[in-house]
Point group: C2
Chain length 329, copies 2
DNA sequence: ATGAAAGCGCTAACAC
DNA sequence: GTGTTAGCGCTTTCAT
């Protein structure tokens, strides 16, 4: 594969001129430009990003950290990130951490090593301490999950309000025994959604019953199924549940189906995230929609601004309760 | 951030020695090594991949092309690719083509530009001609979808046999009017699965009815739902259907549910891919499992071997019919 | 408007 | 075992 010097020779100019033509960086005679373009075509030349990146000491690659590919929740956010980044001349590298510190380190090193310019983290399990450390010298943006205490900029929704709205919806339908299928409360969003759950109970004078709060280890279907199994074994079973993730809700719904319970007749169910499957279940699932694509756009925008030295502020985006069959009355 | 020369100066050695320590490339005195390690620590040095890659003219980055993130079919394959690649010292860049030629081009250029070393394509919509062209100078492996005529190595399953097995299963259950919900037959796998469908009909002396074959535009839920809607409008409706993708089958199942039809009582349904959600539907879905993780491993292995100049051969992996509630008798 | 030359950070060939 | 040096492919002063 030809390099810039060969192109220069072929065109009878210097490599500097070829570079100028390539980057439109300073004026070049029309005639020269044509000679260069001609040479480029003849030699089938493609500029090497390696040389360019080394010289410019930037890679124009952004890392997007997610815990695993299998949660469809991330798909639309990634689309937003991707679209915006490409438009601004950056490519994204999708990184699955598997909540594995070794992998996480690999990715942190990529930015230390100049292989990537910055990070958008959507991984709630990430090692925040290390990330904070990295953020001192590099550009980082958090998406969905963030750190209340520190100043890494983030884009998120108001989880407490969202959870509160879900509860209000269920309470208005007449439910008084409402379970919360929550994930591990080491995650900020889990703590926030629980807060909304509790605030609603309080405001409507409903008792807070510890046995109605179930914390799962992961967000897989089986975690939701297991949670529902436990809830249905209680002496006084709940008549509704709010699961903090659609995947959990779908697992819970499966368990309800297996047990032959009628949803929403005997049991109402709400999820969170509005993943595409949530509209394919039987019955379809009431859920909270986050403006995923917009969140992706915002995160990418913030990261690139940060890379270019502009000041950035965290943003809170809107959410929406999508009412479907699983809470019809 | 310190560079190799500063480390060398700090340690009182040459940059070549530092490089040797870094890469274990030739022997270095224990004392020298310690001095260097010390300096690296003191300066918080991280080697720049940009410099290294330029020098070695490799990026150790592999591109994985998929049409879109939202089809969960790809998840496990990607995990296989990722795990194997990381172990061999490569990182992967997940590229969503959106079946968009412009994006496709961006990715092709990345390997031309030396930003990436090779490509694993899982995108059936890819521009094969261009890919063949690229394959002349670069390493490429196809996964799932391949090109019968050319010699780009691939890893795949025997789609015809898989489809045949599905049909045999349905026929043995007593079904005689079996529909095929196929995707666009511009895709090789679609043509192969149709072949299996037809061969089974022939062998069991069942008529091939054109109106029982429905081709969808995409693989989304609604495509499956629409297909089923049409099939149920036929004068003589089928009693079973084989959808070439779980997403299609799930959409079709949704439509059957909406119509109040009992599955499998009144209608039997089979999907393809064994995505995790296929076990969450009501009823659960009979489907064909491909050894996704293994396919990913194999593809990555082939690509890296190819990059290292070893000869590689295409591989055909096994598949398995997973019988679940949607075809229980 | 264009060219010469330095240098981004690294590794490998060669010399000692 | 270690240092010197050249060069990977590019961009960017600084001249002219």
């Amino acid at each position: 594969m030809a390099n810039i010097h060969e192109v220069a020779k072929q065109a009878g100019v210097s490599s500097a001129t070829v570079s100028r033509v390539l980057n439109n960086t300073s004026s070049v005679t029309e005639r020269t430009r044509q000679k260069v373009d001609q040479a480029i075509k003849e030699l089938n030349y493609e500029p090497s990003m390696l040389g360019r990146n080394l010289r410019n000491s930037e890679s124009r690659l952004l890392l997007v950290l997610i815990p695993n590919f299998s949660n469809p929740y991330y798909t639309e956010i990634i689309n937003g990130i991707e679209d915006f980044s490409v438009e601004r001349g950056y490519n994204i590298l999708l990184c699955e951490t598997d909540s594995n510190p070794t992998r996480e380190n690999t990715f942190f090193n990529m930015v230390k090593n100049k292989l990537a310019d910055g990070i958008i983290s959507m991984d709630p399990t990430i090692n925040m301490a290390k990330l904070q450390e990295l953020a001192k010298k590099h550009s980082i943006v958090l998406c969905s999950e963030y750190d209340e205490l520190e100043r890494i900029p983030y884009v998120a929704i108001d989880n407490e309000v969202a959870a509160y709205k879900v509860m209000k919806h269920l309470i208005r339908l007449g439910h008084e025994n409402i379970a919360l299928i929550n994930s591990d409360e080491k995650f900020l969003y889990a703590r926030q959604r629980r807060k909304g759950y509790e605030r609603a109970l309080e405001e409507f004078d409903l008792p807070l019953r510890q046995e109605y709060i179930y914390n799962t280890n992961n967000l897989d279907f089986q975690d939701g199924a297991q949670a529902m199994r436990k809830l249905l074994q209680l002496d006084e079973t709940p008549t509704a549940a709010f699961a903090v993730s659609d995947t959990l809700a779908i697992g819970a719904l499966k368990e309800l189906n297996v047990k032959g319970m009628n949803v929403p007749g005997e049991f109402a169910l709400v999820g969170f995230d509005n993943i595409s499957f949530s509209n394919m279940t039987n019955p379809t699932l009431t859920t909270v929609a986050q403006p995923m694509y917009q969140m992706g756009i915002a995160a990418a925008n913030m990261l690139i601004d940060q890379l270019q030295g502009k000041p950035v502020d965290s943003v809170m985006l809107d959410h929406e309760l999508i009412i479907r069959e699983s809470t019809l009355n």
